[in-house]
């Protein structure tokens, strides 16, 4: 850094002009081709530079401007860079060459199949959090770690590095519980129900959830339909102090900023590797101050985990990493053969959650029973109820309406309670023959929901009416596609039309 500071001399000063360009997840800088800095420092296209505003600095991709949108001596920055540097219009900012980023040699080492030390992993994650990695590097790191690319010790190091580079909540010496489901099962939105039951029992459960990575909705996307989820660390603490629980997005609180940055690229790549997954989940649990965790791994032919063998491997790896970082854990392997509940997509899942919490007659029983089971496991793991009593106590809390009251109280504490809305466009998919539903392809159902606009469009998704075992007539509605625009509805339908049967009727 010393040398980079040295290069911040007068010749590198430029006047900032705001152009209002929102780029994607990378910072960009815009400089004139004829600018004296470009010429004297020999900048060219395909270059990354360091940009300084006072003591703050960031790395940005250089874009060269050949037009009048910038005048001589001016520089512009993408809006993310403007925010990161807190730079005001007409401020004088400076730029310099980017020094080689040392931790990239560790990434290259990983690409060539070597095992990274805890120190190397820590250096990589620190540089990522500082914003020094371009998408090209993030993608290379994720890819090199994917598949069977990581040893247990590397996953532990990655988890610890993610914890070390984020904020961490300290709840004192008390028991703090949490739960997590290893996704892949459309509509499996047990979290809001479990948190409501467990916190109505009086246990502390500061639940942070992710947004969708490769699925049509993450718990945070679904909760956002009903309440605010972008809470700061201070706001989370306030809600949990008051209600014993919360259900928020983990990103705003900067619990694991490295993970938030990696997830954007994982989403673009549509991969979610075992090592990254374990580090992502457990780092956020530790950061949010939990010490007892129940993990649910659904297994099914088209779930994220396709075989009990693979689920057991993941379970064993998670337990090793969890123990290494001091967590008390219970990993449950569950049935993942079909969607849970009826809705797939944020608003439709929110509707199902409220139906269960309100004990509505049409509430999806499968969602209810899964939530009760997990809540029971948490109560038992905590040692506050006798082994064998967890499920019954959970059911009482739900049936009595106490869990629903707690849910509404939590939502209000988070900022608002809103009822879910319904999408403008709906399209019924009907049975082409009569018979019994014997198989459901979760992945392709999820894909239709995504093509219809979920999770970006909250009310988009699928309303799935016929769980395995349902007897259907010809022309009976199997599921409805919900979309906010005709374009997206057509988009989803077009994919639907290009596919062989997604539900098997025999």
């Amino acid at each position: 850094m010393k040398s980079e500071m040295k290069m911040k001399d007068q010749t590198n000063k430029l006047i900032f002009k705001r152009l209002g360009i929102h780029t994607q997840n990378e910072h960009h800088a815009y400089m004139r081709e004829d600018c004296h800095v470009c010429v004297s420092e020999g900048f060219e296209a395909l270059t990354r530079i360091r940009v300084f505003n006072g003591e703050k600095s960031i790395v940005a991709n250089l874009n060269v401007i050949r037009s009048q949108i910038l005048q001589p001596g001016e520089i512009s920055l993408s809006e993310s860079a403007v925010a990161a540097l807190s730079v005001k219009e007409e401020a004088i900012i400076s730029v310099s060459h980017l020094h080689p980023i040392k931790s990239l040699s560790h990434v290259r080492s990983k690409i060539y199949g070597n095992t990274l030390s805890s120190k190397q992993m820590d250096e990589i994650i620190r540089d990522i959090v500082r914003g020094d990695y371009s998408n090209v590097f993030l993608s290379a790191f994720i890819t090199a770690c994917a598949g069977k690319g990581m040893q247990t010790n590397e996953i532990i190091s990655l988890t610890e590095a993610m914890i070390a580079t984020g904020q961490r909540i300290n709840w004192g010496p008390k028991i703090v519980v949490d739960k997590h489901c290893i996704g892949g099962l459309p509509g499996n939105r047990t979290t809001p129900i479990v948190v409501s039951i467990v916190s109505s029992f009086g246990l502390t459960i500061p639940k942070t959830s992710s947004r969708a990575i490769t699925s049509p909705a993450g718990t945070a996307d679904t909760m956002e339909v009903m309440t605010e989820v972008n809470l700061s660390m201070e706001q989370i603490i306030e809600v949990v102090d008051k209600e014993d629980g919360c259900i928020v997005w983990g990103g705003t609180a900067k619990l694991s900023p490295a993970d938030d940055m990696l997830i954007k690229v994982e989403k673009a790549l549509d991969i979610d590797s075992e090592g990254q997954l374990i580090a992502s989940v457990l780092s956020k649990k530790v950061a949010s101050g939990s010490n007892q965790i129940v993990i649910d791994i659904p297994v099914g032919e088209t779930a994220k985990l396709r075989s009990t063998h693979a689920a057991n491997e993941l379970k064993s790896e998670m337990e090793k990493v969890g123990n290494a970082i001091g967590l008390k854990m219970k990993v449950v392997i569950s049935d993942g053969s079909q969607p849970v509940g009826r809705g797939i997509g944020p608003a439709l899942e929110a509707r199902d959650i409220l139906a269960v919490l309100r004990n509505a007659p049409h509430a999806p029983q499968d969602l209810k029973e899964r939530a009760l089971l997990l809540a029971g496991e948490i109560l038992e793991l905590s040692g506050k109820v006798q082994y064998g009593d967890g499920l019954k106590i959970s059911r009482d809390l739900l049936d009595s309406g106490m869990a629903y009251e707690k849910f509404v109280a939590i939502c209000k504490a988070q900022g608002r309670f809103s009822e879910p809305e319904t999408a403008k466009y709906q399209y019924e998919i009907k049975a082409e023959s009569a018979g019994t539903i014997t198989k459901v392809d979760n992945r392709r159902l999820a894909k239709i929901a995504k093509l219809a606009g979920a999770p970006e469009n909250k009310t988009a998704g699928i309303d799935f009416l016929v769980p395995i075992g349902t007897k259907v007539e010809k022309e009976q509605t199997l599921y409805l596609i919900h979309a906010e625009s005709k374009g997206e509805l057509n988009y989803a339908l077009e994919y639907y039309n290009s596919q062989k049967e997604i539900l098997t009727i025999q």
Copy 2:
């Protein structure tokens, strides 16, 4: 494609406004946040879209504009996208959602360690050449294929796919020779000398070279100091018809456009994997119409190949792939313990080449002997000279001045012949003690040359005066750092100062 065409309806039409933004190797589109297309189609940040101008279409990253640089109904594009779509100011262009890119599922399969079929590899390379892969995807593909990531059959498929997606020169049934050196040895610029000797003998040698990937100069960078290297296919054919040889950059001729696109990202990642390397080299040889190839693999502790074992593995893999695609090959493993010649960097290497070709008294003998050896191997491989006579005949052609005459003729046929210039700033690195040079760290010398500005700045680099075995006095100059700006000279010196000894003096 059918459906994407369908979505090109009237509502998606926008007026193009040129903003003169040169982005890096990805296409970018700029659209207003309030634009009816953004709203009706639900575009958001982190999105890639398809942009149409008549029948042409490209994929671009979407940037959202919140300022007055675009008016309602306007769209802008990065200059690379403007060129790819041949779009004129105020043209009406249209946009649509991007359909999922099918071959990305093959990339994901590769990430998870599966072997790709020839068909899958072909689909990936076609989509890359079409520009459908973002940097994130290119990086993931390169990373997944790096290390020991590729089977021989996959390298063959990759090579064939690169050939199939580029142009290919047909020289008729005659013998067409070529040579290639697997880099990693600073200053090892034998190609221009070898081509001059071989073509003055009368063999056809249409040599296409690469620019630097991770080194301070590629042959194309060095040749560009003395002549034009950005020749079209037609121009290459004209030069070779006239002079029997050429020394041009392979990129402009679009011999292997996939390789050109991958190399940009490999350069950013600073990796150059075995499979990509073999496919890159051999695809370009076949595309340029060669059927007999001599490959030089220098081996040394700090060369690209560090052990004879690794060099033999690469030799064997190259021979397998070469044979599979119908090439007659000879692979030579050579000494790579230190730089070749004196110059490291485009202009300094050009100076050495000219000294050898002109039989100047101070010409670097190591460079000369390496070039003669390789030229001799090519003559013998062709069957046009007796086994054992190649070296002698090559030496005659060089000593007689015929090779130099041919070199100048080739340069003139390519567009010009210019003498290399010298950098404005030079800094002498002196011996801290007396003794004999016993070891040279090629990698760190190359790094200093790169930090000094090579290859972007042609005259930047290192003038290396003391090959292994040289006896030096204390304070004797070991090498000079050449740079075009003070900033870059300081930049290189700073790295130099941070390092332990780069040359070992005993």
